[in-house]
């Protein structure tokens, strides 16, 4: 503030300083307001959900709610165990297929493919990331459900859900993993090759472990999208609240359960749907924490974001 250039008249220096000070202060204020608003909104959502869920927990009982096997609001039965199992099965199934496939595709794009192929494939993958879930659901309902029907059952099945979810999370895993592999410093790769490693040895033993945190981040993001997916799952899973006994049988997910019934639920039923949302929150938190633990054990603690 004291370093005014000597050849400027004093009055204009003072005006300059005042406006600089004002701009500085007001930008700080704007940023503060935005950050606070974000925090307040997040807190409000969590508090509101918990508050609305309390009547259900009180009336139904926590254990009966979480481990009850019958979800039948018309008969006042609110047990979400089959729905939790449905969510876990469909998400796990999608990740088991999508993670190896996605990382392999990322390696292909980052290390193996010629640049012209990459120039074509990479924007395509980015496009697929942005397609809304309802479109995946529509394709699943019109294309995949009849195909599964040929194999057995009515077509509305866990298998259809897994296929649709895999399609949804694959582009996310590919694009973020590829970015992480590309972000590994070139010296790692050059050092490994200089020491005599083959291309595959370099990728598997040097690049992938170095990109580990980014790849984990992509898997966590994919898991978040998969667990929270409502629209597409309503259209292909069949929404039967039973524990899925076969890949060809119907199932229901937590998010799908909320979406199918929320419009008309009232009283305890509505509160039970909020309680379902609380369970969904908890699942996401557990999954994220598990991922962070794995990351820390791996040695490289970086910002997962």
């Amino acid at each position: 503030m004291a370093f005014a250039p000597p050849f400027l008249p004093v009055t204009s220096v003072v005006k300059d300083m005042k406006s600089r000070y004002l701009i500085d202060r007001s930008s700080k204020a704007v940023v503060l307001v935005c950050a606070t608003a974000c925090f307040v909104i997040l807190l409000a959502i969590v508090v509101f959900t918990l508050r609305e869920a309390l009547p259900a927990f009180r009336q139904v009982g926590l254990l009966d709610f979480l481990f009850g096997k019958e979800w039948s609001p018309g008969n006042k039965e609110f047990g979400i165990l089959p729905i939790i199992v449905g969510s876990v099965v469909v998400t796990a199934g999608a990740l088991i297929i999508a993670v190896p496939l996605g990382i392999a595709c990322a390696i292909l794009l980052a290390e193996v493919a010629p640049s012209r192929v990459r120039q074509f494939l990479r924007p395509t993958v980015e496009l697929l990331v942005g397609i809304p879930s309802v479109v995946y659901g529509l394709v699943g309902m019109v294309l995949i459900v009849p195909l599964i029907r040929q194999i057995g059952g009515s077509g509305y099945s866990v298998a259809a859900g897994v296929i649709v979810l895999t399609g949804m999370v694959l582009p996310t895993i590919i694009s973020i993993s590829e970015d992480s592999i590309r972000a590994v410093p070139k010296s790692y790769k050059e050092g490994a090759l200089a020491l005599g490693a083959t291309q595959w040895q370099t990728i598997w033993r040097v690049l992938l472990p170095a990109a580990r945190s980014g790849i984990m981040a992509s898997i966590i993001l994919a898991m978040g999208r998969a667990i929270g997916e409502a629209m597409a799952m309503i259209m292909v899973l069949g929404n039967a609240a039973v524990i899925p006994t076969s890949l060809l049988g119907p199932a229901r997910t937590l998010a799908g359960s909320i979406a199918v019934e929320v419009n008309y639920a009232s009283g305890v039923h509505q509160s039970a749907l909020f309680a379902t949302a609380v369970v969904l929150f908890l699942m996401v938190i557990i999954v994220n924490s598990m991922a962070l633990v794995v990351l820390r054990r791996g040695g490289r603690v970086q910002n997962v974001g």
Partner: protein
């Protein structure tokens, strides 16, 4: 700026944002010259045709028709979100007190794919199929294949009416099997059944067309004359519900729907008129 001053500044900003958020939350909505309707997907196509005809009579009126299912209609009109709620079943003591206007009657058709060899069932057979007791088409005269049962979501008026008229008697009431596929509208069930010969579902008469086959129940074909004269066993009322007795544009619209012109549209669309 000292650290102390900084903290109170932050606190003031937080309070300000919170106050703004609460103020915005209290905002409501309004609008005149518009009638909003929501609820039963059975009533929806009929209501859309009635709304279009009403607009020809009163060009500056807007009637907005939405779906969502009977329970959505009842809840929305009770909450004041819409002017008219549409229901496709009788109201029960559990429902909130609302003014009822009988719009039409409608049969519920038991449908299967157009290539299914079965053409009719008894009411008892329908009950056993949807209850999960009969699981193969060969037990009711069809091919040797598993029956794929498709039903509506629990809040559906069509489902509740079906449960009351088919599943409830003879006592004790039988529950619909819990592995049945649940889809959220009449249209969704129609599409699902049309693409699967081995599927069975229930939809409103107003949705019947050549893409699906309506089964005869107890020997009676699923046609409007049979529903009107009482020989077809599964018929339920369609209601427009309002919070209190309607006034203004809402009253004009409901009066139009109940007038001979409106009821002519009801018959035209495949429902049963009340006059």
């Amino acid at each position: 700026m000292s650290i102390k001053a900084s903290r109170s500044w932050v606190f003031l900003v937080m309070v300000g944002v919170l106050a703004l958020a609460l103020a915005l939350a209290a905002c409501g909505s309004g609008g005149s010259g518009t009638v909003t309707e929501a609820g039963s997907t059975t009533v929806q196509p009929l209501a859309e045709k009635l709304a279009a005809a009403f607009k020809q009579k009163q060009p500056d009126a807007r009637v907005i028709i939405q779906g969502g299912g009977t329970s959505v209609g009842i809840k929305s009109v009770k909450d004041g979100t819409v002017d008219i709620g549409a229901a496709s079943r009788e109201l029960t003591p559990d429902d909130p007190p609302l003014a009822k206007h009988l719009l039409a009657r409608d049969g519920i058709a038991i449908v299967t794919g157009p290539n299914n060899s079965v053409t009719g069932l008894t009411k008892a057979q329908v009950r056993d199929i949807f209850g999960g007791i009969i699981t193969n088409w060969k037990d009711v005269g069809g091919p040797n294949h598993e029956i794929h049962v498709i039903v509506r979501e629990e809040g559906s008026g069509t489902r509740t009416a079906f449960e009351d008229m088919v599943m409830a008697k003879p006592e004790p009431a039988m529950k619909i099997m819990n592995t049945a596929i649940q889809l959220p509208s009449n249209g969704a069930i129609k599409t699902a059944v049309a693409s699967d010969t081995n599927a069975i579902g229930f939809i409103s008469f107003g949705y019947l067309d050549t893409s699906i086959k309506a089964l005869a129940i107890d020997g009676v074909a699923a046609t409007e004359p049979n529903a009107k004269n009482g020989t077809y066993p599964i018929v339920r009322p369609l209601y427009f519900l309002t919070k209190e007795q309607p006034t203004g544009l809402v009253k004009d619209f409901i009066d139009f729907c109940l007038s001979p012109d409106g009821q002519a549209i009801v018959t035209q669309e495949g429902y049963i008129s009340v006059i």
